[in-house]
């Protein structure tokens, strides 16, 4: 397994942002973490992305326990294994698109402008490579972010609400990019509250106030492969109401999906 979460919790005082979650993600899987605002999705993503440490439990990436690593080793894991895509893009405002992509190369290993341009070409932005972020639209900025996340060929792409600030056209472009990445075997974890985005993933887990409340597979083949490889459903030790604590996944109907589609289930 690429990623293993073993009974992790993140506790702020009396608030359990993430409550006793266990989850395994094999290499090449496309997982969506869904839930409403404040459900602990971003906290979970930060813990997976080595930007935050759990209060309890342990996170393993490629079999390495993150709690055993110091700050610089965590930074190494972050730059070598993970590509980050944020909702608010977070581009360096005074660097051009291609320079923003090269920043990731710079901290990773060696800057290579040709590769950076190819990455921008891949997201359809080669012509805008020498524009500053302020001169790019939201969708273009997000595509620069994705190019930046891809540039070091990470095993895991962590995307926090990647389409949250985008219109439908750009949302489609971004999701198509994810599909391509998925086909190439990159593991993708997308945090979203948007059911349409989530439904593109092979597997979805749902959080509510930090507690795992459901899991469902959109791709049965992937599920069979996962289970054949010894993968277990996500689980929680939380005693909260509706928690998925057993070995059996609890299905869920996505509320945003229902709201968007007028309660009609939307098929792929």
């Amino acid at each position: 397994m690429l990623l293993e979460l073993d009974h992790i919790s993140k506790i702020y005082g009396s608030l359990h942002a993430v409550d006793d979650l266990s989850l395994t993600v094999p290499e090449g899987e496309w997982l969506a973490i869904v839930g409403s605002s404040g459900s602990g999705k971003t906290t979970l993503m930060n813990m997976i992305g080595c930007m935050d440490t759990p209060s309890k439990g342990s996170v393993s990436l490629e079999g390495r326990k993150l709690e055993d690593l110091n700050a610089s080793q965590l930074a190494d894991v972050r730059k070598n294994l993970i590509g980050l895509v944020f909702q608010k893009f977070y581009l360096v405002p005074h660097l051009t698109a291609v320079e923003n992509v090269m920043v990731a190369q710079y901290y990773h290993s060696v800057v290579n402008e040709k590769q950076a341009m190819e990455a921008l070409d891949k997201v359809g932005l080669a012509e805008r490579a020498h524009h500053l972020p302020g001169q790019l639209s939201g969708g273009e900025q997000q595509r620069v972010c994705i190019a930046r996340a891809l540039i070091n060929c990470p095993k895991l792409i962590l995307a926090d609400e990647p389409t949250g600030n985008l219109d439908e056209k750009n949302e489609k472009i971004v999701l198509d990019l994810f599909r391509d990445l998925h086909k190439q075997g990159t593991t993708i974890i997308v945090v979203t509250h948007d059911a349409l985005v989530a439904s593109c993933a092979e597997r979805e887990i749902m959080l509510n106030h930090g507690v795992l409340v459901g899991e469902k597979w959109n791709d049965e083949e992937a599920r069979a492969a996962y289970e054949a490889a010894g993968g277990k459903p996500a689980s929680t030790g939380s005693k909260a109401e509706g928690a998925q604590s057993g070995d059996t996944p609890v299905g869920f109907a996505d509320p945003t999906k229902a709201a968007k589609t007028g309660a009609e289930p939307l098929s792929e």
């Binding site: 700050a71 980050l84 660097l95 190369q105 710079y106 341009m117 500053l132």
Partner: protein, 457 residues
């Protein structure tokens, strides 16, 4: 896809002509931060500019003021006097040769101005007065503090002390008769006639011959009433005593007021005194040397050690020590102000840097999320700060120099050469201050968890 391949070609061309290395990427990031965020950069540059300008200006003035003070103080007269030693063959005063040698000893330690004085006792309305023979331009140059009402002495015209003028009720333009009696000068007349050495004696006798003619010419020019009388007086003076009523008439060209002993002296041009009392050397040479107290001490030693000169040097300590004390006080004051300005600059620059860094907290968080270590983030910011310090320092030094120059021109009425050492020091200091000022905010910012920064906004 056609467009895509076109772009790729363009990219390849660009890449091959200018290969991007990590070092160049670093430079690009610094360049971007400085030149694409101009308003912020200007803020940082201006704060170090103000500091550098103030410091450079203060330091430049600090270095110039003692020099200026020294010059000003030296305008208050001599700081070294040379007189014939008692043992020396000095009855005829110091010969031109001796004075030249003494002067060369003085100027060996720094530039110096000098003036010679020859004193004779004369009778004016039967009362004895001291007549000083001077070279007006030398004395004027040396004693810039002398307040002279009217003109300095010239041929046939004298400059009288305030006390002399008051005692005799003389005004500018008045005439007075000065008589010389050899007996008043304790046998110096024979000395003056023979001179201190053979050569001087020879030359003085020949000048004597021509002096008669010039004396007549001067007398006419000065409208002396009786030429024959003048001639008689002269003959009487040279040969033997003369009774009251004789003498040479002089016009009062000016009145000098120094508040010192000069107020009791009548100053005449040295050639007039020579005509009146015969040729001989100076009694006193005054020097205003640019050497400091130690330098003056060693000059005094050097002159006194040379017995062949037959002269004695003395330091005029009053002016030298008060001069030094005032300069030290001023310098201390200036350096204190400089330290205060330095601290204020540090506070100003660090506040600016802190605000710049805090505006870029997200960027720092992002860089860390992309795998940057705290050290590499720190390096980027320090280099950027150093860059602001460099630009601010160079501009500030230029502005500071302009201010210092204007200041020196208006206050001291003198130019100011650019001090390269000070200029480089000021730029280096600006860089150091800018880097130092950003240490705390950058350290604070680079310690932040990237998750916390990225979650904000």
């Amino acid at each position: 896809m056609v467009g895509k391949s076109k772009v790729s070609k363009g990219v390849t061309r660009k890449t091959s002509s200018r290969p991007m290395t990590n070092r160049r990427m670093f430079a690009t990031m610094i360049f971007g931060a400085v030149f694409r965020r101009r308003s912020r950069a200007v803020m940082a540059v201006v704060s170090s500019l103000v500091g550098a300008a103030t410091l450079f200006c203060l330091a430049a003035v600090c270095l110039v003021v003692p020099q200026q003070m020294n010059d000003e103080m030296r305008a208050y007269g001599a700081n070294l006097i040379v007189t014939p030693s008692e043992s020396g063959a000095s009855k005829g005063g110091m010969s031109a040769d001796v004075i030249r040698q003494a002067t060369s000893l003085v100027t060996a330690r720094g530039s110096a101005k000098s003036a010679t004085y020859r004193y004779e006792t004369v009778r004016i309305n039967s009362a004895p007065y001291v007549l000083g023979g001077i070279n007006a331009s030398e004395v004027r140059n040396l004693n810039q503090h002398w307040v002279v009402d009217g003109a300095w002495p010239s041929a046939g015209k004298v400059l009288i002390g305030r006390d002399v003028a008051d005692a005799m009720g003389l005004q500018i333009g008045s005439t007075m008769t000065i008589a010389y009696r050899a007996s008043d000068n304790a046998g110096s007349s024979s000395g003056s006639a023979s001179g201190s050495s053979g050569s001087v004696s020879g030359s003085s006798s020949s000048t004597d011959g021509s002096a008669d003619n010039s004396q007549s010419a001067d007398a006419t020019q000065n409208q002396v009433q009786s030429q024959s009388n003048s001639q008689q007086t002269r003959d009487g003076r040279v040969s033997s005593d003369i009774m009251e009523g004789g003498g040479t008439e002089f016009e009062v060209a000016g009145i000098v007021d120094t508040g010192g002993s000069e107020d009791e002296i009548v100053y005449a041009d040295e050639s007039d005194v020579a005509k009146l009392a015969g040729q001989r050397g100076a009694d006193v040479v005054e020097y205003s040397s640019s050497a400091d107290a130690n330098g003056l001490g060693s000059i005094v030693k050097a002159i006194n050690a040379d017995a062949s000169l037959g002269v004695k040097a003395q330091q005029v300590t009053k002016i030298t020590s008060s001069n030094t004390r005032i300069i030290t006080m001023l310098q201390t004051l200036f350096w204190l102000v400089s330290v205060v300005v330095l601290v204020l600059t540090l506070v100003g620059v660090s506040t600016t840097m802190a605000s710049i860094v805090s505006q870029r907290r997200n960027e720092i968080g992002l860089r860390k999320a992309l795998g940057a270590s705290s050290a590499s983030v720190g390096t980027e910011f320090y280099v950027e700060s150093a860059f602001y310090g460099l630009i601010g320092g160079v501009l500030g030094t230029a502005v500071g120099y302009a201010f210092a120059r204007i200041l020196c021109q208006t206050v001291f009425d003198r130019g100011l050469a650019f001090n390269w050492l000070l200029g480089i020091g000021s730029v280096v200091l600006s860089i150091l201050i800018a880097v130092l000022a950003s240490v705390i905010p950058v350290r604070r910012a680079s310690r932040i968890d990237p998750a916390i920064v990225l979650r904000e906004e």
